[in-house]
């Protein structure tokens, strides 16, 4: 419990070139939390974006207040894992929400994560695109096939106990995320997978909530041959070491 006895939710938003999307995500987050009555803060970790993301973040800080919007930028692109570690140092909540800042994840699911967490006293609540009425928008057949194929391979090899391992829309207890960050070493998609796998090893409980993933509204998506190769390498590493 955070000070005062009520739960507080810290949302970590690592950003790189999200000048278009950042204000919209922050607006949606603020509105969602206000409507659900939860105490929150948003920590924006910008990796020196050249498109002026930091400047628009400063405007948002003035609008919403520096108790709600915390700017913790870094000088250059340093990767997601270190962004989470950096962000958590400044988080005063007892729960951490991680999500994408490009509007592919909609904040409206956060109250459902919170409800699910209370329901089962879960250490982690993971958004899943593959179960219930979860799903995606804006993916062609090829992309969907790769996604389902990769997920099937992951389920067979790792038997992780969660249906969506590469998803990055999750709620963690703060101390759980801190513990996992110490143990995880991978990068990219595999990093998200490793978190769930390590969580299982450490005996943490994982709940799931179906979410909809709306592919990039502005900007370009990235799933090339390189991504697939590094995913397979990472998967095999996890298979052999966990």
């Amino acid at each position: 419990m955070a000070a005062g006895g009520a739960d507080k939710f810290s949302v970590l938003l690592p950003t790189y070139n999200e000048r278009e999307n950042l204000p919209l995500v922050v607006w949606l987050l603020a509105r969602t939390f206000r409507e659900s009555g939860n105490n929150f803060e948003i920590i924006i970790i910008d990796d020196g974006s050249p498109d002026g993301t930091q400047e628009i973040a400063e405007q948002l800080e003035k609008i919403y207040g520096s108790d709600k919007i915390l700017l913790r930028p870094r000088a250059r692109k340093l990767g997601l894992g270190t962004a989470y570690i950096h962000g958590m140092k400044h988080a005063t909540g007892n729960f951490i929400v991680i999500m994408d800042a490009d509007l592919s994840h909609h904040p409206k699911f956060i109250p459902e994560f919170i409800r699910k967490q209370k329901e089962g006293n879960f250490d982690i609540v993971s958004g899943t695109r593959y179960k219930g009425n979860g799903g995606v928008y804006g993916w062609d057949l090829k992309r969907k096939l790769i996604s389902r194929g990769a997920n099937f391979l992951t389920q067979v090899l790792l038997r992780p106990g969660a249906s969506d391992l590469t998803g990055s829309f999750r709620l963690y207890r703060k101390e759980v995320l801190q513990k996992l960050m110490e143990k995880c070493v991978s990068k990219g998609y595999v990093f998200q997978m490793e978190m769930i796998v390590r969580a299982r090893q450490l005996g943490y409980t994982i709940g799931e909530v179906p979410i909809s993933f709306v592919d990039r509204v502005y900007g370009e998506s990235k799933l090339g041959g390189n991504e697939i190769v590094s995913f397979l390498k990472g998967l095999l590493t996890l298979f052999a070491t966990t």
């Binding site: 607006w27 405007q59 909609h106 006293n121 593959y130 409980t205 994982i206 070491t241």
Partner: protein, 119 residues
């Protein structure tokens, strides 16, 4: 929504429900588990397949047993194709979510402009 819980080595909380009994499996890597399984099944199959004439199973059993590994591989291949195909076909398309997002974006832009944000 689906509920998934896991207990494991070092489970800390009284509220954790153990869905799998604690076992040596918990400490072995996935690769280790597969190798163990393959060695166990493989040696059982080899013992039965390579048994000397005195200790063999009756002919119908042997006939089914010998190609079993290949059968299982093919069966797994079919299962994989069917499963991935099914999941691909039933992959939800979130049309409404996309439409709703567009509305939210408009509302957000309007409200933020009112509050003084210079896009």
């Amino acid at each position: 929504p689906v509920v998934v819980g896991r207990g494991g080595v070092g489970a800390r909380r009284g509220s954790v429900r153990l869905l799998r009994p604690l076992s040596p499996q918990a400490a072995m890597t996935k690769l280790g588990q597969w190798l163990c399984g393959l060695v166990l099944l493989g040696s059982a199959w080899a013992a039965l397949a390579l048994a000397p004439p005195g200790l063999r199973l009756p002919p119908p059993c042997r006939q089914a047993l010998l190609p079993l590994p290949v059968y299982l591989l093919v069966a797994f291949g079919c299962y994989s194709l069917a499963t991935v195909g099914y999941r691909l076909a039933t992959f939800n398309d979130c049309e409404e979510a996309a439409a709703e997002l567009q509305e939210h974006i408009s509302a957000a832009r309007a409200d933020l402009s009112r509050r003084g944000l210079r896009f």
